[in-house]
């Protein structure tokens, strides 16, 4: 019975089991727990740690964190779904964080969006069939004098042009694994 999620939980009812957190995940979560006076404060950090290792936050991962930190799963889900950068669905190997805010809009981000659509066949919220890229629009990336800008993984790409998009895609193709 301890494995059953309570009925008022927002987690899909067919998911009943938490996965086992890895030693590496636990070590990082434990480190964060030394920096805050209570466990709840570590919730978001733990979600991000698990996402770093697993690529996204599955229901099973969320339940595991919920148990480990003793935070109700519904509360943790409330936090997970609140933040733009916590992925509750699988994403591709590389996430494109695409700035669509005002300065990048003025400097032509819509043209870049069309180019990505054409080159990778994905629009906002979609993942390529080969699971290489997920394309996510984000608020202002704070690099407005270099617009249009986007991040691919941790790399910031500036002053984008349609031609540059081809070069960037080719560059990651050469790099291989993310």
């Amino acid at each position: 019975m301890s494995e059953v999620v309570s009925s008022n939980n927002v987690i899909a009812s067919n998911v009943t089991r938490a996965r086992k957190l890895t030693d590496a995940e636990i070590a990082e979560i434990e480190h964060e727990m030394t920096l805050y006076p209570d466990k709840q404060a570590v919730g978001l950090e733990a979600l991000k740690i698990v996402q770093k290792h697993q690529g996204w936050v599955s229901d099973e991962s969320l339940l595991a964190i919920s148990r480990y930190l003793d935070i109700p799963a519904a509360d943790l889900e409330g936090v997970a779904t609140f933040f733009n950068l916590v992925y509750r669905q699988p994403v591709g190997k590389r996430v494109i964080l695409f700035c669509r805010s005002v300065s990048c809009w003025i400097t032509g981000c819509e043209e870049i969006r069309s180019k990505i659509k054409q080159s990778l066949g994905i629009d906002y919220g979609e993942t390529t069939a080969d699971n290489e890229y997920t394309f996510i629009p984000v608020p202002c990336l704070g690099d407005c004098d270099n617009g249009p800008v986007m991040m691919v993984g941790d790399d910031l790409h500036r002053r984008l042009t349609p031609q540059k998009i081809d070069e960037i895609i080719a560059e990651y193709k050469d790099k291989g694994e993310a």
């Binding site: 920096l35 404060a41 805010s101 005002v102 300065s103 003025i106 400097t107 704070g142 407005c144 270099n146």
Partner: protein, 426 residues
Amino acid sequence: MVSNPLTKNIDMARGPLDIKAYEAADGYQGLRKIVAGLSPDDLMQQVKDSGLKGRGGAGFPTGLKWSFVPSGEDAPRQKYLVVNADEMEPGTFKDRLLMEGDPHLLLDGMIIAAWAIGASVAYIFLRGEYVVAEKALRKAIAEAKEQGYLGKNIQGSGFDLDIIVHTSAGRYICGEETALLNALEGKRANPRAKPPFPQVSGLWGKPTIVNNVETICNLPGILAYGVDWYHSLTKGIDHGTKLFGVSGRVKNPGCWELPLGTPIRELLEEKAGGMQDGLNLRGFLPGGGSTDFMLPKHLDLNLDYEEIGKVGSRLATGTMIVLDDKTCPVGMIGNLMTFFAHESCGFCTPCRDGLPWVDAIFRDLEEGRGKEKDLQVLLDHVDYMGPGKTFCALAPGATAPLGSGLKYFEDDFKRHIAEGKCPYKH
């Protein structure tokens, strides 16, 4: 004398100074004075005298904000300093420069602020996307610990301070200080009711000061060179220098440190090089996406909090977004409304329901479905979501470009409806 205290050490090609080089450039003077016996009260008085105002957007006097923190024997023992480094205001790119370019400047300022208010723990609430800044800050913190400038009983002074980097996961509302505190506590980042104000009951119910990165970065200069020097910096009414940015279709977009009181024209025409060839200036948002439009006729005003306020806008973050005459003002405002609608925390009704409604009307205007009555609906929303009618400042911020845009670019709105399309598209 130093005239650019915020950026004097910044050379992006070289990378940030390490602690030795930073200290050789008049760094950590505040800490030396603290160790030599500077009292928190005297320090707070110096910051009050400096006239420093918050650089995060609201422009509230920093020393006055600090003075609301309870002090003395009966005050709570645990207090917190939180640095708001969650730079997400559209069109704002100044704190990134400071943190990537000179992370020790921020730590130096945080030590000063923490001593003034009596905080032994300080959090840097950093945007998750600022990975370069995160690395720079973590390296600088490690150096400062190594040097004995952070930790327990710093330099034998009895002053303890730990600085912790918290990386967020992307929500604009975290810039609102009480929402930020909820996020730091691991909760959904809904704003809190005020009072109590964070200065009295903030992080985990303890007295807390939340200051913007650039505000904190003003402190080391004030401590190293003095209040008189700080007062000599300005060209106008408000004191000090500020980072000013220009983005949009200008020749040389960028971010520069200039004295407060510098004419807007100097920023736009000399620093940013004026408009790109073939384009004319139509208007600009002077301090990020939640400020009112200003017009070319305002170019000779000075970059001062009060002076910008007189024409109904705000200096706010000081990063200007420029609208040219080939870019659709309705499209630009619509882009901002999409942003605000997406970033509403959903807690209060005017914001949660009003912003998506406004956003939908802009989509109709853009796609040729605009109706005469839409303009009145937009005007009504400027009222419904205005200051004092929502739980926090997010929706009133959205009404700033909306209300001023409806006033200044009314003809453009009407053409969208009359022509059944965006007149700027061919």
